[in-house]
């Protein structure tokens, strides 16, 4: 199946090969097909002993093709085959009402809301810290070590503490998850924006001085626009990190909803297919979020003279 698909993209008719769509997507499609092929091979190899043990336990005669077919459709495989994952994904996305607890749409929405809130909080915190660091040497010296330390503590260790402490003061549900997510994602934004706010060239800063610009004017008319490329670069990193933060925050709390909860439930019951389907949902969410940041960047860059 893979071979015939490959042949179609690479050795099709000459006109087809020159088609812009083909030229644009052929490399990506090739890579994806290659990965899927590797995945199938790995699935066969990894699940082989499991399936063979099954046959031997039931003492039924089996052939090689029975074995291979078994690896493709095992109920709790070590590595589910791609079509199993996609089947489970499609089933849990479209098979239930979006609000049903078995629907991946529902779980994704729960995680997405925590991610977005965490991302916004993290971005505000990150930019605020960067502004403070850029404007005061004292703050730079006192804040920066703490900011760096904050990222050296594993979030898996911190998350339960956060949840317990925040729960003790009455915060539950969305907000604690968002705070953990913000805690993770502010860091690249701070680092990027410190770089961005100090990006203007000395001549431009001197010019502002010759015009007796106030610090606020220097910020709004020079430092902010100079920082825009850095802002989007760090936002792209931050948005994926905030998704990871939201998922990680769901793990130690025994959350009942969210992609993290799906992962946890799947691992408790050995439902590898369910875990992989949840991972697929997380990957799709992450690329969607990055795509959104990318789109915003393009719109902004166009307004700033295609400068980026």
């Amino acid at each position: 199946m893979t071979n015939s698909a490959l042949a179609l993209t690479t050795s099709g008719a000459g006109t087809l090969r020159k088609h812009p769509l083909v030229e644009c997507y052929a490399p990506i499609v090739t890579i994806v097909l290659a990965l899927i092929a590797i995945w199938y091979v790995a699935a066969v190899l990894m699940n082989l002993s499991l399936v063979r043990d099954g046959f031997e336990r039931e003492e039924t005669p089996y052939t090689i093709s029975d074995l291979v077919a078994g690896t493709m459709s095992a109920e709790r495989p070590l590595l589910p085959a791609p079509h199993q994952v996609i089947g489970a994904f499609v089933d849990s996305v479209f098979g239930y009402a979006p609000t049903a607890p078995r629907s991946l749409v529902y779980h994704s929405a729960v995680t997405l809301s925590a991610t977005l809130l965490g991302f916004v909080l993290g971005a505000l915190l990150g930019i605020g810290l960067a502004l403070m660091i850029v404007h005061s040497r004292v703050l730079e010296k006192s804040l920066l070590p703490w900011i760096i330390c904050s990222q050296m503590v594993p979030i898996l260790a911190l998350a339960p503490i956060f949840i317990v402490v925040l729960g003790a003061i009455g915060l539950q549900g969305l907000l604690p998850k968002s705070i953990i997510s913000a805690y993770l994602c502010f860091f690249p934004i701070t680092i990027g924006m410190v770089k961005g706010f100090t990006a203007p060239d000395p001549m431009q800063l001197d010019l502002m001085r010759t015009w007796s610009a106030t610090p606020r004017q220097v910020l709004s008319k020079l430092r902010w626009p100079s920082a825009v490329p850095y802002l989007f670069a760090s936002l792209k990193v931050a948005v994926t990190i905030s998704l990871i933060g939201a998922i990680v925050a769901e793990l130690p709390t025994g959350a009942e909803a969210g992609i993290g909860a799906r992962l946890l439930a799947g691992s408790y019951s050995g439902q590898t297919v369910q875990i992989w389907a949840a991972l697929l949902a997380a990957a799709i969410l992450a690329s969607g979020l990055i795509g959104l940041v990318d789109l915003t960047e393009r719109v902004v860059a166009r307004q700033m003279g295609t400068w980026s």
Binding site: D201, M203, Q204, D206, L207, M208, R209, T210, W211, S212, A213, Q217, K221, L222, P225, V228, M304, G305, T306, W307
Partner: protein, 308 residues
Amino acid sequence: MGLRIPKALKQDNPGVTLRRDVRESFVASTGPTGMNNPADARAESTASAQRLAVDVCNVSLTFETADGKVDALSNVSLQIADGEFVSFIGPSGCGKTTMLRVIADLQQPTAGTVLVNGMSAEQARLDRGYGYVFQAPALFPWRTIEKNLKLPLEIMGFSDNEQKKRAARYLALVNLTGFERKFPWQLSGGMQQRVSIARALSFDPAMLLMDEPFGALDEIVRDHLNEQLLQLWDKTGKTVLFVTHSIPEAVFLSTKIVVMSPRPGRIIDIINCNFPRHRTLEIRETPEFQKIAQRVRVGLRAGHSYDE
């Protein structure tokens, strides 16, 4: 600023003509005395302190660097009358740029006093008494040409209407009408530098400080811009302080040439240069021109041999 802007607002040229008259009478009275007799010049300056655009008195500036102290300026004194075109020439490291930066209050002298338009350098900067043109155009890449021109006006709080009028007027002055909506990267280096000159003029400062503005341009563009600058000076009657490496450029443009020498940075000669106001590039072939150029060359060489 409070004084200057209303004058500029109602100006359709009377302010400029008036200033030019003042200059001519003043230059006529000091011209012959020149700076060759410091005692006379000092007396002159105290008598008519109001008319001095720049009065630098015993200024020294020492930089602390990793390799020890560097005397960028050593006991420098200089008076510049309103409306003059003064060139600073000398080898690299002779302090000509530092001199300009001290006058612009971009750098503070370690000793001595600087008066600009009769006030301290800082006061003159806050008063927006000068426009500064750097070696590179230093345009803001995310702003269109028109918006670049409007930037100092925005900062200084001109009305929208006035900003628009001035942007159009000064773009016309540097022959760039029609480029309003272009972004800086769409213009050649020479055009960009013309925009930066228009930007420096846009808020109608009494003085123009130019730090090797044409240094990065090729000879032909440079000649052309020299002629344009001369016309501009003639039209607007501003005091111009002009740093350059080029002897012909200095002699062609100036009413006064200040020859400087490095280590420590000091003035070794001040040459008056009284070519007619309307001059063309052809005067470079005249014996008078050659004579002054020769004197500048001798001065520069003397400064160098002092070093060895």
